[in-house]
Point group: C2
Chain length 461, copies 2
């Protein structure tokens, strides 16, 4: 295999690669707007054709929403299957007047391509397809088993994608999942995501008198449900940022020493984040850094609270009820269901018997983690080092990624890796979204090496 | 002075007394509705004429709102002046369809008169005027110095009444104030109110990030203003129902043993109140009964709280801000201003330095108390015993009465007493408001005795 010839071909064809990419960027695939239904269908058809041209068996999977592009190349029954996920739909472009160039007329300025979807997510999955294309064109084949899945409703919650995945597990079955919808940790610091936090979400309501009553007439005697509620919630986290529910930390997988070392070396811009968010200080968990607290440690947060009089001036009442929404971010190996059980048990023990409260358990999300020594990570590590001049950092995300959990639930893969070549300041979801041409090409080069390296790791193994 | 002749005259003229009262009740003096402006003026004029007829110098005091009836009889420069307050305006009548008889067509059923304003407040001040009338008609004079003030905007906050009082203190100056706008403690248990709680009211806002942020991305590191807020408020009252602000109880006047004895003997309907309000238990302050906690002890209550996401389902954010309105009911000798000072000092000491919060101090109300051994109480005690067959109970109200504080602030009287003949179940402010004919007449008889008894106490003194 002459890899350098492949890399040379990429470099020799930079303009045609960009022209091809721009063709995709010109399609206004806004999933949120029903007026763009035909554009979504057109893009899906275009992608099916493209996949067909580069050696993949390709087709549209119809849903009651936007079509899903499905392409596969699985000639090696004894080898693992890698599923690559991306989405061809994009965010709306409002406010349009804030764009300096038309969002669907990709424009180059210096190293940057300005267009809606340039980073999120067309640039990411397209770099993978482009790497495949060039390998296929130079070698006449593709090493390894691949399934390509490009959906058209990621920006509106992937609702129909779940229906498809749950009803056709066999079709999607894969050993490794590569979600090409992440990005670098900072410009010039490529990253691989090997874990995500989960979520347990609750709504609590405390009730007092059946109607708001006069706080002069009844204050001091009639229970105040707002006070009951805040007293309960205030007891769930101590001043050290630790959650006080007995057993809550029992299943928590402590970050490994290497993970903490890695995080300590990340270019985490503490001061600039504080400035951007307008906060004076982080409030991390005791014995953990802010970055650790925001990624590998569980949390408790109140997301909303309401009750009683909220207009202007003063109204002297004891409210009839008060509610709050609150959540716990979960880390491996916590689960939403066990968290709910522990919470409800704890509330039973701390809430006085004459306080009326009700807790609604809202849908949760499992945390995700893959051992980052799995081949998908080691292969990317080497490939990225070859082209970015440094190894990617291994990170865990603080939030959740809907499709990652769908894949985990329905396919139970051996590994899930999230990758991408965009940067945090690319303005995804904002006007003037952009993507570095240099990183786009470094991404294609890295993907070529990844494909061969990943394949080689199985032949070695 | 032949008192029995006066009482006999009242009994002989029951029907004409009622007819006269009904004339007043027929006037639809709804102050909240501008359509009734002429009705308010007509009622005021009618009352001025009535006062004129019974030996009082009477006139309208114009305001930019409803007129105030002012009548006086102060021929004795060396004797104290008693100011009697009432209001001729009434609450709206909605929902009209729930009235069994027209609200301004007074209807008698058994012992009850059904009409808007029958209890609140026409029946109360009219009983005083009627007692004066009959004394005047039988004796040709009125014993003592009186100022009668009947306003027309009590039900909409007495806004213009304050303007008048503050600009014409001399005119209203009085030694004792009798507010005829209270009622019996329970039917058959007449009451005199000698104290009211005050109020300190605050709004607190905690701020976090300048905009709502993703609780996955930032949870665990970025301070949650909703949690900061509830942590602060949860620390202001302990599990024993005691307020934890240092110095808060310093100025609190403990209820006297006789006051606690008196309260213990009141027919406080604990079970029926719990049932009506739908609560399982009272939550009184430790070492005090529910009734004591609701009348003679200070309180802390959250009146409203809001922040973050309050729609349906789950939204995973750290809110940018969270606010709450909260109040303390104050008892003698606390003041709103000292309470504010103590609160703000305490917050400085308990809130960590990197929490951003702001407290707005809203207008407060001073608590009120009069020694119930003052002549106005002892005179009423005897007078009521004469006609209700039992002494009135002496009580302190848990709420505030706007005009009581206005009188306290602008006139600095020696005593303030609140009285009335209505009962808690008369349906004031509700459809089918009613008032007992028997209590109305017992009220007139009691007032006659009060007038002579009160006057005699000064002659004795």
């Amino acid at each position: 295999m002459n890899l350098s010839a492949i890399h040379q071909t990429i470099e020799e064809n930079r303009q045609s690669v960009l022209d091809h990419f721009f063709e995709l960027l010109r399609m206004p695939t806004i999933s949120a707007n029903p007026d763009h239904k035909d554009d979504l269908h057109h893009a899906a058809q275009w992608l099916v054709q493209y996949c067909q041209n580069i050696g993949l068996q390709s087709r549209i999977l119809h849903t009651s929403g936007a079509p899903v592009v499905f392409a596969e190349h699985c000639p090696y029954p004894n080898q693992p299957v890698l599923l690559i996920y991306g989405h061809y739909d994009v965010q709306p472009v409002d406010p349009l007047e804030q764009w300096h160039t038309p969002p669907f007329d990709p424009t180059t300025k210096g190293d940057m391509i300005y267009a809606r979807g340039a980073d999120d997510d067309k640039g990411q999955f397209f770099s993978f397809l482009k790497a495949m294309e060039i390998i296929y064109s130079k070698t006449g084949s593709l090493p390894g088993n691949y399934k390509i899945v490009i959906e058209g409703e990621e920006e509106i919650g992937s609702a129909h994608f779940e229906e498809l995945l749950s009803s056709q597990r066999e079709l999607f079955q894969a050993d490794s999942i590569l979600i090409m919808d992440a990005g670098q940790f900072a410009r010039g610091v490529p990253a691989l995501v090997y874990g995500l936090r989960g979520l347990a979400y609750f709504e609590i309501t405390c009730t007092g008198p059946v109607f708001d009553v006069h706080s002069g007439q009844f204050g001091g005697g009639v229970p105040n449900p707002a006070f009951s509620l805040i007293k309960i919630l205030s007891q769930l986290k101590n001043d050290q940022g630790q959650i006080t529910i007995p057993g809550f930390y029992q299943d928590v997988q402590e970050p490994e020493p290497w993970e903490r070392d890695q995080m300590a070396q990340l270019p985490f811009q503490e001061e600039s984040i504080k400035k951007e968010l307008g906060i004076r200080a982080f409030q991390q968990e005791m014995n953990y850094t802010p970055l650790e607290s925001m990624t590998v440690r569980p949390t408790f947060d109140i997301c909303g609270i309401w009750g009683g009089y909220t207009g202007s001036g003063s109204k002297t009442i004891i409210p009839a009820r008060c509610s709050a929404k609150f959540s716990f971010r979960l880390v491996p190996n916590q689960t939403p269901s066990k968290t709910a059980t522990l919470l409800l048990e704890h509330l039973k023990s701390i809430v006085p018997p004459d306080i009326d409260y009700h807790v609604e358990v809202l849908p949760g999300i499992e945390p995700i983690i893959t051992d980052p020594h799995k081949p998908i990570f080691t292969a990317f590590n080497q490939a990225i080092k070859n082209h970015f001049g440094r190894s990617p950092v291994l990170i865990r995300g603080g939030g959740s990624v809907g499709v990652a959990n769908l894949f985990k639930r329905y396919l139970v893969p051996d590994s899930i890796c999230m990758n991408g070549w965009g940067s945090p300041d690319d303005g995804v979801h904002s006007p003037n979204e952009h993507f570095s041409i240099n990183d786009f090409f470094r991404g294609i080069h890295s993907t070529v090496d990844f494909i061969f390296e990943f394949q080689a790791s199985f032949n070695r193994g």
